[in-house]
């Protein structure tokens, strides 16, 4: 159950299902990652010589007022593929946390 604020209607309790999505975007393994290389350099300069393969990506979280259905997942994939990530240089995966 989630409380939603409806403009002009005051507070209202609602039974709407909300799907919370966490998207992880990372540079493709085959693509150079200058940020990852710089972070790795910093880690090594701190004396951690054994740390390797550092890659820097990003996470994006959002909520959808919907149930976790195939249709919802298709929408999420559509958002991930092109807007949230560029398939030429990045990979994505996501997790769904039902609230």
């Amino acid at each position: 159950m989630r409380k939603i604020w409806l403009k002009g209607w005051g507070n209202k309790d609602s039974n709407l299902n909300v799907v919370k999505v966490m998207v992880y975007v990372s540079p493709k393994a085959t693509v150079l990652d200058p940020q990852g290389a710089a972070v790795q350099q910093a880690i090594k300069s701190l004396g951690h010589a054994s740390v390797d393969a550092v890659r820097v990506g990003k996470t994006v979280t959002f909520e959808i007022d919907a149930e976790d259905t195939a249709e919802t997942r298709a929408t999420i994939d559509k958002l991930c593929d092109g807007l949230l990530s560029n398939p030429i240089i990045e990979d994505y995966r996501y997790e769904i946390v039902e609230e």
């Binding site: 540079p27 150079l32 200058p34 940020q35 290389a37 092109g82 807007l83 560029n86 030429i88 240089i89």
Partner: protein, 229 residues
């Protein structure tokens, strides 16, 4: 109006591009807001540099879904002339009008300098004899590192789609690529700024032949004398 200069929130080379095309080359140009339609009389489009939508997510990632992009894609599909400069190049790549993508410079620095470039014999309109063997144009970018998958890179090279290569690679771009065109030869993209090399107080004037070659089909491009006067 012949040339439309698309303005996104965060574009900052739009006025410069308009000045270069309209005032220096003498081809009527107008800035068009990204939520408006492309005017019917448009003969060429410049997607200018800047930081559209704050470069959020990726450079050009959000601009590719602006309302005007539907018109721009239709315009390009029909053979319309499109030039993307810097952020404009990034937007055209994100929108799929040009192959590849631009990622962070390998040095991680924002590179801002007058860059030496080798002109490739790409097509009749944009070749060495017209523009010169080696030219210099200002660059100013943090994400100019051109990346493309190997098979596409082979196609780009085989089809002579590379317009300009860096001489002394400033950003790690693959095959030193600074600018490319699409296969059909009507969509151009480049990281260097030709509109910043057109007047006596600029570092050089090499932007004039570059812009003239792009606008050549429109034919009313004025001679370059104006720039030095």
């Amino acid at each position: 109006m012949k040339v439309a200069i698309i303005q996104f929130p965060g574009s900052n080379c739009d006025w410069d591009a308009e000045h270069a095309v309209d005032q220096i080359l003498g081809v009527p140009a107008k800035r068009i807001w990204h939520k408006d339609s492309l005017p019917g009389e448009t003969e060429a489009v410049v997607v200018p540099g800047g930081f559209s939508f704050g470069d959020y997510l990726r450079c050009g990632a959000i601009a590719q879904f602006s309302p005007i992009m539907t018109d721009l894609k239709n315009f390009a599909d029909k053979g319309g002339q499109v030039l993307g400069i810097c952020n404009g190049f990034q937007i055209l790549c994100e929108a799929g009008l040009l192959p590849g993508a631009l990622i962070r410079n390998d040095c991680l620095d924002f590179r801002c300098l007058n860059q030496s470039l080798k002109v490739e014999d790409s097509n009749d309109r944009f070749n060495r004899s017209k523009i010169g063997n080696s030219i210099a144009l200002p660059i100013a970018h943090g994400e100019g590192n051109y990346r493309v998958k190997d098979s596409t890179l082979e196609e780009i090279e085989a089809n002579k789609q590379v317009l300009l290569r860096y001489q002394g690679n400033p950003n790690g771009s693959i095959h030193d690529i600074a600018g490319i065109r699409n296969r059909d030869g009507n969509v151009y993209g480049m990281m260097p700024h030709p509109e910043r090399a057109i007047e006596a107080h600029h570092p050089c004037l090499d932007g004039i032949p570059v812009l003239q070659s792009f606008l050549e089909p429109l034919q009313s491009a004025r001679p370059a004398e104006l720039a030095s006067s």
